[in-house]
Subunit: 592 residues, 2 copies
Amino acid sequence: MISTVVLSEGQRTKANEDKKLETMRHSAAHVMAEAVQSLFPDAKFGIGPAIKNGFYYDFELPRSLTPDDLPIIEAKMSEIIASNIPFNRQEVSKGEARQILASQPYKLELLDEIPDEKVSLYRQGSFVDLCRGPHLDSTGGIEAFKLVSIAGAYWRGNEHRPMMQRIYGVAFASKRALAEHLEQIEEAAKRDHRKLGRELDLFSIQEEAGPGLVFWHPKGAVIRRVIEDFWKDEHVRRGYDIVYTPHIARLDLWKTSGHWEFYREHLYSPMEVEGQEYMIKPMNCLGHILIYKTRRRSYQELPLRYAELGTVYRYERSGVLFGLARVRGFTQDDAHIFCSFEQLEDEVAGVLDLALFLTDTFGFTNYKVLLSTRPEKYAGELESWEKATEILRQALARLRIAYEVDPGEGVFYGPKIDIQFEDALGRGWQGPTIQVDFNLPQRFNVTYIGQDGREHLVAMVHRTVLGSMERFLASLLEHYGGVFPVWLAPIQVMIIPVADRHLDYAHHLESELRSEGVRVKVDGRSERINLKIRQAQLDKIPYMLVVGDKEVAASTVSVRLRSGEQATSQTLESFREGIRLAIASKSKGLSL
Amino acid sequence: MISTVVLSEGQRTKANEDKKLETMRHSAAHVMAEAVQSLFPDAKFGIGPAIKNGFYYDFELPRSLTPDDLPIIEAKMSEIIASNIPFNRQEVSKGEARQILASQPYKLELLDEIPDEKVSLYRQGSFVDLCRGPHLDSTGGIEAFKLVSIAGAYWRGNEHRPMMQRIYGVAFASKRALAEHLEQIEEAAKRDHRKLGRELDLFSIQEEAGPGLVFWHPKGAVIRRVIEDFWKDEHVRRGYDIVYTPHIARLDLWKTSGHWEFYREHLYSPMEVEGQEYMIKPMNCLGHILIYKTRRRSYQELPLRYAELGTVYRYERSGVLFGLARVRGFTQDDAHIFCSFEQLEDEVAGVLDLALFLTDTFGFTNYKVLLSTRPEKYAGELESWEKATEILRQALARLRIAYEVDPGEGVFYGPKIDIQFEDALGRGWQGPTIQVDFNLPQRFNVTYIGQDGREHLVAMVHRTVLGSMERFLASLLEHYGGVFPVWLAPIQVMIIPVADRHLDYAHHLESELRSEGVRVKVDGRSERINLKIRQAQLDKIPYMLVVGDKEVAASTVSVRLRSGEQATSQTLESFREGIRLAIASKSKGLSL
């Protein structure tokens, strides 16, 4: 079975660096604990691990912390770091440890759960902690850190246990890396898709209708339509058939499929119609299977690739809902491929190629690929699993795609490939997923007549490329910070007449550009020109065409970019040709 | 108030003819009853009215009728008609009538329910009937008739009363009109969208998933996408904004709107989520209202026109479901216009113009327009109703559209205009509907800030043009009998290579045409050429390009039409340009 990790040299170096950073962050947590102890000698300590980008520690303190406490704790930490005191590891028996940690009830609780006879303690200065390590040699190795926030956290995440105070910090290998990270956090806050969605009037989620349900406003819907049209055209070009299936179906179907049994906590409650139970669909696969099964299929018809922008509904606790990124109703860019086992490698390679082409066109050029293999509980034959996993590997190899193996993380019905793409801030987004399914073809007896005249089960592939329209818009918004490339911008051109006497010319330009398929508006309000330019910039409209006496006389336009770049004068023909090309080529930049 | 019917002279003539036909059909029912009585002297008679295209009569007979009985009854009827015996009207007291009809229990029952003291009887030959009339002077006036079917029918439609035997007949003013009608019935059966949908593999409705829920197969989905893209482009061109709203929402919204109260029998049962009740949407209006209400709106923003291809679910009894024409889930081509009262006439005129443009483009050129006015139970102010109804009239007048008034048939929330279009067989299909709504703006307080700085309720218009994608596909299928114009055909060109050695050239043609956006396939099977042509004709594919040695050598194509028209030889360039034009112009015919 596959369990090796395919790592390039660069990836190996990075793994080492990650390990070093993690150690430094863990040590910073201990230093923070020491600083807190010096300020609150009675502090009781919970746990203090390294996490992504930093660390935290949980404390029980005589009073509530406020943001004003953080600089004081930071100053104390800086002192400890400047003293460069060593971290000392000590192996002791549990009895000795119990004496040393006698005043720390939470530590004692943890101690009791360790099965080994010997445990390790780490000490620096006056602070001692029950800890497996490893740590830096001394506190001076902590290069750059900052405390960022305070939060409440139940001891061991259990709401029946005491609420402790958690301080979060970040730590990096250099002052520069720390500064970059803090800048990135600030930038990420500015790019928060919920904030941008509101500012650019793209979508809303409304308490009145229910949490997690998305309303696409006109400008958001324009982006969605551009994405959907491109998606459909590209799928048809690659031999997919678009289909439409209903949003509800008899519950019995979901019992046959196993979803009712295995996935119940995410399903909406059934509706009753004439004594039959119906359910709103949590996925599109069964609809596609039913279409496949409307007639007997021959090997000559395969592969059949059914694609649907199918809106599905899944229950999520309201506490975990988050903007467009985690919702209760979403439109998957879904497809199911029905093929023979012999065709599977070609099909998987085809999906990978399509997936990388689409995400690249949308501007995501970095990605990470994971191959997830057979979990402990699985459906289907062991032999099929091995064969299918090998096929996924070969498809990846054929496209020379580097990947990591996630052993045992496949779905119960088959192995899968996940692609996580990275946005402009280096954050990962769940992207394309390709899953082989041994379960549904069997449960629904999905077959074809082979060249041998006999009936065979199909190989079935589930796949989405963008994931869902909702989450994909979130990633696009945060990736571009709302500054969309021209082909995706809801309004591409704002024409700004200097005075009312230039309105006719403005509308002439508008209709000329509109007939070319350009999304264009005229800002005909009687407002100052600078205010109108400022508004268009706030709306992140790629091009502003300012037209006054000079432009009317010369039949030209004065082009401004939303970046504030200096105006250039162009003929209408030249501008029109330029924007036409930028749109048609799905250009990521703005140049005319 | 408006209650006059605007009728052209042609319409008046037609109304007179309809009256005469109805009398003849009613008389034919009596003649049929006399014929049945002569064959079954103990026959008991129910009722025998004229209906659309013909008549029926219900009988209680000593044995079940079979289709073989119909020619015998027809022959007897022809005898009676040839004898040209008079219909005699006779006024009698109810007591006398009771004696005359003593052997007819069903007639006696009807007699008892007549409040008047005197009743009228009609007699011809040995047959006498309790009947208000009118009738022809004599049986010879029945020009052309045919008995078409036998069915069971409960006495007075009550399943607890006896089951009678009903014979249906048709009757017309001339042998030619009758022949045309019978031909039309035959043609309609051939064009039945359920039959064509199956034969052309366009869609299915599957018992497993539930009745009334439509699965769009690849070829049906192609047609739907062409319709939807055209619809969206035309709406955007006319200043509509496309939006998307969720398929479920909290039930409270539907309580506020009044749907829960007034429309309950068509609603699906609620789903429970975290203690809140949700419902699958039966209409799209509330979603559009919620988007409108996400911010304060100024008069300068109006009109706002939100359009959505929104899939809705309404409960219908399984007994009334019918193919695509009556379903439980359907995608409305919906839009809601929010405007001021002053803008209402322009908006209604705009919708009428759009509606007639779209239906005409799809090939429906005949239509009937109805203006439905205030019903007895209504929401809103009397004055607003009168004003709005007058506005609808003026919009119709402005576009010089002839219409009839349907007094009192408006929806409870406002007056409306309905357009019924006629298909190639002269049958009516429910088409565009435009409804003014006084109810929802009030219930949801949908307002704008006027030029006067004060808050005003908007005028709201509900409208669909095609109705739903499902019903519209049914009407298109039956209108064209599946022989779609080239722009709507799922596959536009089938390339048929004569032998395997012509496959390369066939695929070259395929990619040339596909790059032009043409939907083209190659039939590369090793089958006889005539069989492949026959298959393409059965699939009603507009163009077949047969390519053999001659075509390869000369770089030409041999074009056949699905009508079987003789092949013509063309260069690829000429064919490509021809089909490009036919598609772009949405041409209804096939000419190259």
